[in-house]
C-alpha cells in the first residue's frame, strides 16, 4: 500500500501525496522536484514567493537577461488568444550587472535553486554573459535563450539555424563553470527540430529545453492593424502544448540520453505528466502562472499524485515511458 504524506497547498487546503521519489537528475545536477518556473513568466522569483515557497521548486528559471539594461517594446505587449496568449515584451530587463547584484543575490539569500536564462544579440554577447556568471555560486544551470535575432546576421534568429545555434552554445559552454550544465532552449519554428537539437548537443549543450513560443500575429478588428506594438509575438499557453510534447517526443527519440526540460502550455499535473512520458526529465510552468500564481506548486502536487496513481516509485521511472516497445505493458 502506498504511503501518503499530507501537505498544505498554497491555497491552504490539505492534500495527500503518495510516496514518490520526485527528484530528478539533469546533466549532473540533482533537483528535489522536477517542476520549475518558465523563463519570462516568473520575473526573478520575488513576486511568486508571496504565493508559495519558491525554494520548494526544482528551480526558478529567471527571465532572460542580457548584457545591457533594456526598455523592451511599446505596448500593447500582449493579446489573449484561445487557451493562450501572444506576447511581445522585447526582453525588458535591468542588464546583467544589476541582475547579478540585486536579483540573483536575492534568490541566493532566499535559498532558491536558480537556472539563469541568458539572451544576446550576438554570439559574443552570450559569451560575455556566461563569463559574468561563471564565478557565481548561485547558478544551478544556464538556459540559453537562442530565440533571439542575431544582429550580425540580418536579424536571423539563432535557434532557426544549426550553425548559429551551435556557435552560441559552444561559446557559452566553454565559458561556463564546468559543474554548471548548459541547456539550449529550442524554438519550435523550425522545419527539423531534431537537427537543431543535435547541433546544440554536438556543440556541448548538456541538455535541451523545449519549447520556446511560436511566432504569431493578432490583427485588431477595430483598428484593422496588428494588435501588438511589436507586430509579431510569441504564442504560449495550453494552445501550444501538443506542439511542445511533439518536440520533446521527437528529440527524446533521436537523443534518448540527452536530458530534456519540457515546457509549453503546462496547466495541470496531467499536462506535466505528458511531457515526462514523452521524455522530459523536468518541466517548466509558464503562461499558466499568469492565470494561477501558485500553479507551479499545484502542478508539482498533481504530478506526484498522478505518478503514485500509476504506480511509479520515482519520477525517473516515468521519463520517456511513452516510448516503450508496443509489447511492453504499462
Amino acid at each position: 500500500m502506498t504511503r501518503l504524506t499530507r501537505v498544505i497547498t498554497p491555497e491552504s487546503s490539505e492534500i495527500a501525496l503518495p510516496d514518490v521519489d520526485m527528484s530528478t537528475r539533469l546533466a549532473g545536477v540533482t533537483l528535489p522536484n522536477p517542476v520549475m518556473t518558465a523563463s519570462g513568466c516568473a520575473g526573478y522569483g520575488r513576486e511568486l514567493d508571496q504565493f508559495f515557497d519558491i525554494t520548494a521548486l526544482g528551480a526558478v528559471v529567471t527571465k532572460s537577461i542580457m548584457l545591457q539594461p533594456r526598455s523592451g517594446r511599446p505596448t500593447p505587449r500582449m493579446a489573449e488568444t484561445p487557451s493562450g496568449m501572444l506576447n511581445s515584451i522585447g526582453l525588458q530587463g535591468p542588464g546583467i550587472e544589476e541582475f547579478v547584484s540585486r536579483d540573483l543575490r536575492w534568490l541566493e539569500e532566499r535559498g532558491a535553486r536558480v537556472i539563469v536564462s541568458i539572451a544576446g544579440g550576438s554570439a559574443d554577447e552570450y559569451v560575455r554573459l556566461a563569463q559574468r556568471l561563471r564565478h557565481s555560486s548561485a547558478v544551478t544551470a544556464i538556459e540559453v535563450n537562442i530565440s533571439c535575432p542575431n544582429v550580425e546576421d540580418r536579424g536571423l534568429v539563432f535557434a532557426c539555424d544549426p550553425v548559429a545555434s551551435s556557435t552560441v552554445v559552444e561559446g557559452v559552454r566553454r565559458n561556463s563553470a564546468p559543474g554548471v550544465p548548459v541547456f539550449a532552449k529550442l524554438s519550435p519554428d523550425v522545419t527539423d527540430i531534431v537537427a537543431i537539437a543535435k547541433a546544440c548537443v554536438d556543440a556541448g549543450a548538456d541538455g535541451l529545453s523545449m519549447i520556446n513560443t511560436l511566432l504569431g500575429v493578432v490583427i485588431d478588428s477595430d483598428t484593422m492593424r496588428p494588435h501588438l506594438g511589436g507586430v509579431t509575438g510569441g504564442l504560449s499557453g495550453p494552445a501550444i502544448r501538443p506542439v511542445a510534447v511533439r518536440a520533446v517526443w521527437q528529440v527524446h527519440q533521436a537523443l534518448p540520453d540527452v536530458p530534456v526540460i519540457g515546457m509549453g502550455g503546462i496547466r495541470t499535473g496531467a499536462d506535466a505528466f505528458e511531457f515526462i512520458l514523452a521524455g522530459a526529465s523536468a518541466v517548466e510552468v509558464g503562461t499558466t502562472v499568469f492565470n494561477d500564481p501558485s500553479a507551479p506548486m499545484r502542478v508539482s502536487y498533481e504530478l506526484q499524485q498522478l505518478l503514485g496513481a500509476r504506480d511509479f516509485a520515482s519520477l525517473g521511472d516515468a521519463v520517456g515511458f511513452a516510448h516503450r516497445p508496443d509489447d511492453e505493458p504499462a
Binding site: P69, G72, M78, V151, P293
Partner: protein
C-alpha cells in the same frame, strides 16, 4: 501588504446602471485593501480558454461579517472575460488575487481635494473620499461619462462631498461635455491642493494637465491591459519619470496603478521614448 490568492464565494451580483457590482467573500484580501488597490480575477473557470486575469479596482470592502471580509468591484461587459464574470451567480466560486498595486497617497494635512471619475472608473474614489473626510479634507467630485447610464456613484458622491459636478458627452445628465470642461473652474473656485483621478487614459492625461496648470498635485490611477496583475508578465508598462529624472518603462501593476500625474509621460504612452532607460540606441541596434 502581501497579496493573497483566495477562492472566494460570490455573495451577490447586481446591476447598477449599465454596470455590474460583484461582492465576493475574500478573507485576507479585504482586510488589507486601501483605496486605489486592485484585485485580479481569473475568468472562464479552471479549464476555460481564457487564461489572463482581469484587473478591477476595489470599490468597497467589508472587513468583517458573517462570511469574513468581502470585496466589491464594479465592472462593464467589455469582452468575453467580463461577460463570463457577469454570469456568475450567488454561491459560485471566483479566484481572486489581491490586494495589488500601490494605493492613492493620502495627505497628512487637511487639504482640499477634488475627485475625478470617468465612467465606472469612479469606483475607488468613494472610500478614498471617506478617508479624506476623516482627515478633515474638503472633498469635491467631478463625475463624467458618455451618457447618464454610464455614470457611476453620483448619489453616493453627493452624500460625501461639498459639491458634485456631472458631465456627459451627450448632455443626458449634468453639463454636456467632458470632466475637463468643468475641472479648471472647480479647481480655481475651491483652490484644490490635490486631484485624485481614475478613468480612461485620455481623461487622466487631460486631468493631469489641468491639475499641473493650476498648481494642484495629481494622483492618477491608470488603466493598462494586464495579463497577471502581480508583476511577472511585464505587459502593463508605461513610461514614467522617476525621482532621479530618468524615464523607465514601469509596471502599472507594481509601481502603479496610482501614479503622480506629473510623472507619467501621457503623450508617450504606447511608445518607448528615445530617452527611456535601456531604450534601443539606434536603428538596427538592440
Amino acid at each position: 501588504m502581501t497579496p493573497v490568492q483566495v477562492r472566494g464565494e460570490v455573495l451577490s451580483i447586481r446591476r447598477v446602471g449599465q454596470y455590474h457590482q460583484l461582492t465576493i467573500v475574500a478573507p485576507g484580501v479585504a482586510e488589507q485593501v486601501r483605496p486605489g488597490h486592485f484585485v485580479a480575477i481569473a475568468v472562464g473557470g479552471e479549464t476555460g480558454a481564457q487564461l489572463l486575469r482581469r484587473a478591477f479596482s476595489v470599490y468597497r470592502t467589508q472587513d468583517r461579517g458573517v462570511y469574513g471580509g468581502t470585496v466589491d468591484i464594479v465592472f462593464a461587459e467589455h469582452g468575453a472575460g467580463t461577460r463570463w464574470l457577469s454570469h456568475v451567480r450567488q454561491h459560485d466560486t471566483v479566484d481572486v488575487v489581491g490586494p495589488l498595486g500601490k494605493p492613492f497617497a493620502l495627505p497628512k494635512e487637511p487639504v482640499t481635494c477634488t475627485m475625478v471619475g470617468g465612467g465606472y472608473g469612479s469606483a475607488p474614489l468613494f472610500t478614498l473620499a471617506e478617508q479624506l473626510r476623516e482627515r478633515g479634507c474638503r472633498v469635491d467630485f467631478v463625475l463624467g461619462a458618455a451618457t447618464e447610464g454610464r455614470l457611476f456613484g453620483v448619489l453616493e458622491a453627493k452624500r460625501m462631498s461639498q459639491s458634485v459636478a456631472v458631465t456627459t458627452e451627450d448632455g443626458s445628465l449634468g453639463d454636456k461635455g467632458r470632466v475637463t470642461d468643468v475641472l479648471p473652474g472647480l479647481l480655481e473656485r475651491t483652490g484644490a491642493d490635490v486631484v485624485y483621478a481614475c478613468g480612461p487614459m485620455g481623461m487622466l492625461a487631460a486631468v493631469a494637465d489641468v491639475a499641473a496648470r493650476l498648481g494642484a498635485h495629481s494622483q492618477c490611477a491608470v488603466e493598462e491591459a494586464m495579463a497577471c496583475g502581480i508583476g511577472v508578465c511585464m505587459t502593463c508598462v508605461l513610461p514614467v519619470v522617476g525621482d532621479d529624472g530618468v524615464t523607465r518603462m514601469v509596471r502599472s501593476c507594481i509601481d502603479g496603478p496610482v501614479f503622480r500625474g506629473d510623472r507619467v509621460r501621457w503623450n508617450d504612452v504606447g511608445t518607448v521614448p528615445a530617452d527611456t532607460w535601456g531604450a534601443p540606441v539606434s536603428e538596427g541596434g538592440h
